[in-house]
């Protein structure tokens, strides 16, 4: 069939190189293009294929797997305690984490974990830019999931664009409705999984089914369902571009030695369509096929250089590499590269990746330091803790026979998962008599503390007048000794005895 003159240039334009389709994708979210008072231009990310896409599927599977399945993991702690491996138990003031069980007074473990997380984020950013944003940020992961669901119902980029332009037929209602329903399902399970971290998961699921769950569970389920649906399904790149403060901060965290997703302009320019049998001499490798723009979930053109909107998900690398394979040019026109190396390459030189930079060393050293402190604290973590609160009002009580009585509240924390028996005594206070409220009849009472609990004891220590004479300034330091009758281990806790200054 003869080709008319009008059709010929059109056909040439839709081919960037022989056999390579030229996408009509526009970088709708690039700052140069978007106009803020107009309606948001929808981004239709195309499916990418390649090692980074595979890596991202893997990261998604791991992160979502952890999030959705972790509450269902069981961990045997005996009959008295929850058998959920990870549980934030607010009513009982406990944080269960596998073998660890953090009491409120040990919250510094969580603080340390957060400090390490923050520093690790800084280190990762200094090393390779926004890897957090590109691979593991919940916004990215869930948006990726929502796009995958959307693609399942509506097809890839072009099919989705066609469907959006098409009139509302039954088919469109079916596909659009299916998409949103699936998004809602994803959102509900996201909200559900969140709540399961705070209450025994199987119990709570049953309560949800019977509509008997506590109101707060429904409230948080609703909040997380709404945010997942809105932020992951609807808002997507708008969250990263306009709402998130992190892109603004990250700019200060990487430098000219950080590996960033970059377009190698020195190799790509001058860009333009490549005709069959045309020489690659004197022109760039970029055939302007715009596949990098088509796959971009942020709606930008990486060839414009580094920009705030770019979450560095590396999908443009995959898209470009598959094109380079087709036109038989070397891969890596878009690749992880440093600003330093890009500048050197433009001058025909190379600049190797420099790892030993002050900020890298500083972050690594701080992470190591905090890690060591945490490990030491964890190692020395006691499973029996004794706190002594001395009465401050009154400081002491004079009794009718001239002796002086001091009052103490002794708290025994049993962090074991079994009942333990203790004996309480004093050391360093000559002539003292002990009276434990509730145990007056027993001369040397055995005090039992139920598993994983705290027992507060009121203790009166009385010194006769004769012993008081020996105290310097009426004050004496002494220890409470708490002995575990099971393994005869002891814990001592120092405090003071006070009497009037004579």
């Amino acid at each position: 069939m003869a080709v008319t003159a009008e059709e010929r240039p059109k056909k040439r334009l839709s081919e960037a190189a022989p056999g390579v389709e030229r996408s009509d994708a526009e970088a709708v979210n690039a700052p140069e293009v978007r106009s803020l008072y107009t309606v948001r231009e929808k981004v239709y990310p195309k499916r990418a294929y390649g090692k980074f896409r595979t890596l991202k599927w893997g990261v998604m599977a791991i992160t979502l797997g952890i999030y959705y399945l972790l509450p269902w993991l069981r961990w045997d702690r005996g009959e008295h305690l929850s058998n959920q491996a990870v549980l934030i138990d607010f009513p009982n003031r406990r944080f269960f984490f596998f073998f660890l069980e953090i009491w409120p007074q040990e919250f510094y473990f969580i603080t340390g974990l957060l400090v390490i997380s923050a520093l690790a984020l800084f280190l990762a950013t200094a090393l390779a830019g926004r890897v957090w944003c590109g691979y593991t940020c919940p916004q990215t992961v869930w948006t990726d999931l929502m796009i995958a669901v959307e693609r399942l119902w509506q097809g890839d980029r072009n099919a989705r664009m066609r469907l959006d332009k098409a009139p509302w037929t039954l088919n469109k209602v079916w596909r659009k409705g299916g998409t949103h329903l699936s998004w809602l399902l994803v959102s509900i399970s996201t909200g559900g999984a969140f709540v399961f971290f705070f209450r025994d998961a199987p119990t709570l699921l049953g309560e949800f089914m019977r509509f008997e769950a506590p109101p707060i569970a429904y409230i948080f389920l609703a909040i997380f369902t709404a945010t997942t649906y809105l932020l992951g399904g609807i808002a997507r790149e708008q969250v990263c571009t306009f709402m998130c403060p992190w892109p603004r901060i990250q700019g200060a965290m990487f430098d000219q030695h950080s590996l960033l997703v970059s377009y190698r302009g020195w190799r790509g320019e001058e860009r333009g369509p490549h005709k069959k049998d045309e020489s690659w001499e004197g022109r760039g490798d970029c055939i302007d096929c715009k596949q990098c723009v088509a796959v971009c979930p942020a709606g930008i053109d990486i060839r414009d250089g580094g920009q705030l909107e770019c979450i560095q998900c590396a999908l443009c690398i995959d898209a470009c590499n598959s094109i380079m394979d087709k036109i038989d040019r070397p891969r890596g026109l878009i690749a992880y590269d440093t600003i330093d190396n890009l500048e050197a390459a433009a001058k025909g030189k190379t600049s190797p990746v420099k790892l030993l930079r002050p900020r890298i060393l500083l972050y690594s050293a701080t992470i190591t330091l905090v890690g060591i402190i945490m490990l030491v604290a964890l190692w020395n973590r006691t499973i029996l803790e004794v706190n002594v609160l001395r009465d401050r009002n009154p400081l002491f009580v004079a009794l009718s026979d001239g002796s002086i009585r001091n009052g103490y509240t002794l708290k025994i924390l049993n962090k074991r998962h079994e009942e333990r028996a203790f004996r309480v005594g004093t050391k360093g206070l000559l002539g003292a008599t002990l009276r434990i409220v509730g145990f007056e009849k027993d001369a040397d009472p055995t005090i039992t503390v139920v598993p994983d609990d705290l027992r507060a004891l009121r203790i009166y220590v009385t010194l006769p007048e004769a012993s008081l004479q020996k105290l310097k300034d009426g004050v004496s330091e002494f220890d409470f000794i708490v002995t575990d009758l099971g393994d005869t281990s002891t814990v001592r806790n120092d405090t003071t005895f006070r009497s009037p200054v004579r």
């Binding site: 803020l36 008072y37 107009t38 309606v39 948001r40 708008q238 306009f242 009465d391 401050r392 009002n393 009154p394 009580v397 004079a398 009794l399 009718s400 026979d401 001239g402 009585r405 009052g407 409220v437 009166y460």
Partner: protein, 288 residues
């Protein structure tokens, strides 16, 4: 109005504000964000109608659902009372000893008693019930009117020298002011009292004082000065002195007498509160 200046590089309007040659661009908000603002404005109009919002001259618009933070407080106080009523009913039915024996009621009473003590008793007895001159320390093992639960409960109810018809009274004559004893005799009795409480005293004067004590004081304070809780007569042989145990203070007490006052709390505090207070005071360390 002048035409807005357009920045050459970005093509965006400037606000005409300039700092060191840098001009502020008038970048607009994204449209969806603008819609959030409009929706918030509409929301606020709904809020004015539904919730208390606008100040008027002596009041304010009430809103159609009648929400008020005062009501919320009143309701939560009501709820707290409701939750307490379970315990309070049991306390009303039990005597203090039974309350002390029940761990649940004991815990509730100690908390309630502490609060009531802070509100009503702390001004005289101190926040820690440690007392001061003239106001007994409630932590120690020394009691004027008895330290059992029942005694403490009774003292709380009727007070001392109060307006209650069954009030506790422990009148002591003002031996000096009313000229019952001569100053020298008072001095002798003082020496005797010092001697029986283990303080330094002149033996000769104490011997003279002993006879006077047997005649004038032992009716209430007992032969050996051990006191009598039935009458509220303090034990003079121990080391605790409500009004001071030195010679000057004891002389003063004998000369002018003392008349401490405690209000009767029956009628002012609920019977349940009085029981909780009795349990609390009894548990301070000196209860018998």
């Amino acid at each position: 109005m002048t035409k807005p200046e357009i920045d050459e590089i970005t093509g965006v309007e400037t606000t005409d504000h300039e700092w060191d040659g840098i001009k502020e661009l008038n970048n607009p908000l994204p449209r969806w964000w603008l819609w959030v603002l409009y929706v918030s404005i509409i929301w606020s109009i709904g809020y004015w109608i539904v919730m208390p919002a606008w100040p008027l001259i002596s009041s304010h618009t009430k809103g159609v659902i009648g929400y008020s933070q005062r009501l919320v407080v009143a309701r939560s106080l009501e709820d707290a009372k409701q939750a307490q009523s379970v315990y309070l009913e049991k306390i009303a039915a039990a005597d203090p000893a039974a309350i002390k024996a029940d761990p649940e009621l004991l815990r509730f009473s100690l908390a309630g008693g502490e609060a009531a003590f802070g509100d009503n008793c702390a001004p005289c007895h101190g926040r820690g019930a440690q007392g001061s001159t003239g106001y007994p320390n409630l932590n120690d093992d020394n009691w004027l009117w008895g330290g059992t639960l029942e005694d403490i409960h009774q003292t709380l109810k009727v007070g001392i020298r109060s307006t209650h018809e069954d009030t506790r009274v422990n009148p002591m004559p003002a031996f000096g002011r009313d000229k019952i004893l001569e100053p020298a005799q008072i001095s002798d009795v003082t020496e005797f009292v010092l001697s029986i409480s283990g303080s330094e005293a002149t033996a000769e004067a104490a011997t003279r004082g002993k006879a006077i004590f047997a005649e004038q004081c032992s009716a209430c304070h007992g032969e050996g000065g051990k006191g009598n809780m039935e009458l509220g007569a303090p034990n003079l042989t121990d080391r605790i002195w409500l009004y001071g145990g030195d010679k000057a203070a004891i002389t003063q007490t004998i000369r002018n007498s003392r008349a401490g006052v405690m209000p009767a709390w029956e009628g002012r505090l609920s019977p349940e509160t009085l029981k909780q207070l009795a349990v609390y005071v009894h548990s301070l360390g000196g209860g018998q």
